[in-house]
Symmetry: C2
Subunit: 374 residues, 2 copies
């Protein structure tokens, strides 16, 4: 992919920094296309899996451990790759030294002695900034997390194609829930079947967050699938949030196992209508809080509605614009939003969620499955 | 569980620190029993999920976001829980402020003005230490990561019960591989079936690392399951590494789909004998490098053997004692070791792995399945 370093040039001017040391998985993917999977937690082999050092408008440097091949093939050839030896059975593990040594080399190459460096201060470990500060006492750090997050709100065509692929995976997952949901299997067994279809379609393991709950747990709004067994007459709330090559999808459906009660059917239709109205209202110039209010006013008559009406989606599963009462942010083309109105009442919950991208005139639905109880 | 703060008291003396601010998932679990799942990556809602502040021998403080309930029930009632409000739809997201504010309160409570604080400098974000340094210019930080890791090598009875449970899950997973492996399904489909059995047995989603590969990929030693289809006559290398409630299990088997060649059978038997010999040699007083050498000498005659012979397992899937040529570390009772000899030759790989715990006289096998080609 084409790197997005012009974003850093903008921040360089606005924040008066000279260079950037980027360490979060999301921002590294955003800026240069390299993605590393986070599913198995922090590595026991190295301090951090990757870092990107950029002195705009110059050449960018990706520092990675040699065992983090990840999506190197997707990277623009203009980016200098600096690999350091990570784990080997032939010599003692250099948990920090490999990365820090390579970082020092790169800093020296750029005469980084007195630079002011933009960092993501919540993602960069203390040992990295402490190491730099020890070498260069005149270094300054500036947290540019919010600057970068703000620029990530508007998705370009390349990003949209990633997000559409993740939404496709959600569509398939929701069809699988409808296909497999039946009494006698547990939430976790249903989850295995659904995630299995999604992994198979993706041809790879896909990190996934999921609320997949039945019965009374739907009233509580969600949670991880458990060994609770699906009972005849249960509703199943299925909120599937997979991360495909770094970009998240996020949709929710509510399914009836057996016959839904007339009230459940009526609530389902209420939520679906509210979602449709919400989608109709999403357009450039609309305020996030007004979309929230539209859904909240309608649905809180019918039951508890104690969460957001939606949120941005992209390299994080939850980001701006948040569709919440206090947020006066103006929607703009290129924003991707998941709207998820709900009714929680009388011991059950119904939540329906679609993803849309704001375009010039309104918005386009990018999750395509049809919400239905069965 | 009973907390393990006596470990911190030992480090307090040896490293001359006054207090500890512990931030890694593994160490928090180790010290106080609280475990948070890391499978979906960094949270977009808060800086860090949890931190433990301890001034030995005084009361310990666990600072957590209110949406990180995790395994709070397992925690010793002597630990003070400090919750801060995390995500709410009613007010703007305070990504860092909630945690840092609560941390400041706790530090004030302990008159922490001039303390020297033990931290895990690879896991604690810059923004936390920068925040503390700004409030208290006389603070000092000392990296105690290695001190803690060293003490974690010897497992107590409570830890062993966690690790045995994870090993049980591995046993079941290996039986599932034998049950489901067949031509025509892909690596990722096999993985879904195997992980599904393991999740069902655990009654919850279990974070898992897995090499699950067929055919030529076994020669390469592993990798994530892909859409490659299992062919008649393939070997399948199945290295399953689940994390159950914070503790990892780790075993490997190699399975034949169809008839293994006489050479493959003979190599399988060689590796199995080497593993048996290795297990016989694990005892208190033995050196890690000698166990490695025993396996390496035997097996490198038959093929490539370019990795460790084993490693410690516990709150990390890979830790000391590493069973490698350079490591003269003496084995001691309570160490848990996964031994994984292998032969990679002629386009296929065979690796067999068991977990053992060193006891007073030798060691006890804690993964119980029987390695077999089918």
């Amino acid at each position: 992919m084409k790197p997005r370093f012009e974003k850093l040039e903008q921040i360089k001017s606005s924040q008066a920094v000279d260079a950037f040391l980027i360490t979060s998985s999301a921002s590294i993917k955003y800026l240069c296309g390299f993605f590393y999977n986070f599913e198995t937690g922090p590595s026991p082999f190295q301090l951090i899996p990757a870092a990107l050092f950029v002195v705009p408008p110059g050449r960018a440097n990706l520092i990675i451990a040699d065992n983090e091949s990840g999506q190197l093939a997707d990277i623009d050839p203009g980016i200098a790759i600096h690999k350091y030896g990570s784990y080997s059975y032939e010599k003692p593990l250099a948990y920090s030294a490999g990365f820090l040594g390579k970082l020092s080399e790169v800093l020296r190459l750029h005469n980084a002695g007195k630079m002011r460096i933009g960092i993501e201060s919540g993602s960069i470990p203390h040992s990295v900034t402490a190491h730099i500060s020890m070498q260069y006492s005149k270094f300054g750090f500036e947290d540019i997390t919010m600057e970068l997050a703000r620029r990530r709100m508007i998705k370009d065509a390349d990003e949209l194609s990633f997000i559409r692929a993740a939404a496709r995976l959600c569509d398939m997952g929701q069809e699988s829930v409808l296909k497999y949901a039946k009494p006698g299997i547990s939430e976790i067994e249903l989850f295995t079947l659904v995630r299995g279809d999604m992994d198979k379609a993706a041809g790879q393991r896909v990190p996934m967050m999921a609320d997949l709950v039945c019965g009374y747990r739907t009233f509580e709004g969600g949670g991880n699938p458990s060994s609770a067994e699906i009972q005849p007459g249960d509703l199943i709330l299925s909120d599937l949030t997979p991360c495909l090559n770094g970009y998240w999808g996020d949709t929710c459906n509510t399914v009836a196992v057996g016959k839904a009660s007339p009230e459940q059917v009526s609530h389902f239709n209420l939520v679906r209508d509210a979602l449709d109205n919400g989608i109709d209202a999403v357009k450039p110039g609309a305020r996030a809080c007004d979309i929230d209010s539209l859904l909240r006013k309608e649905l809180s008559k019918a039951g508890r509605y104690a969460h957001h009406s939606g949120h941005g989606v992209g390299l994080a599963y939850h980001e701006e614009p948040r569709i919440v009462p206090y947020n006066e942010m103006i929607l703009r083309p290129g924003m991707v939003i998941a709207l998820e109105p709900a009714i929680y009442a009388n011991g059950y919950g119904i939540r329906l969620e679609h993803m849309v991208v704001v375009n010039e005139h309104g918005c386009e639905k990018i999750s395509l499955f049809e919400h239905r109880l069965k």
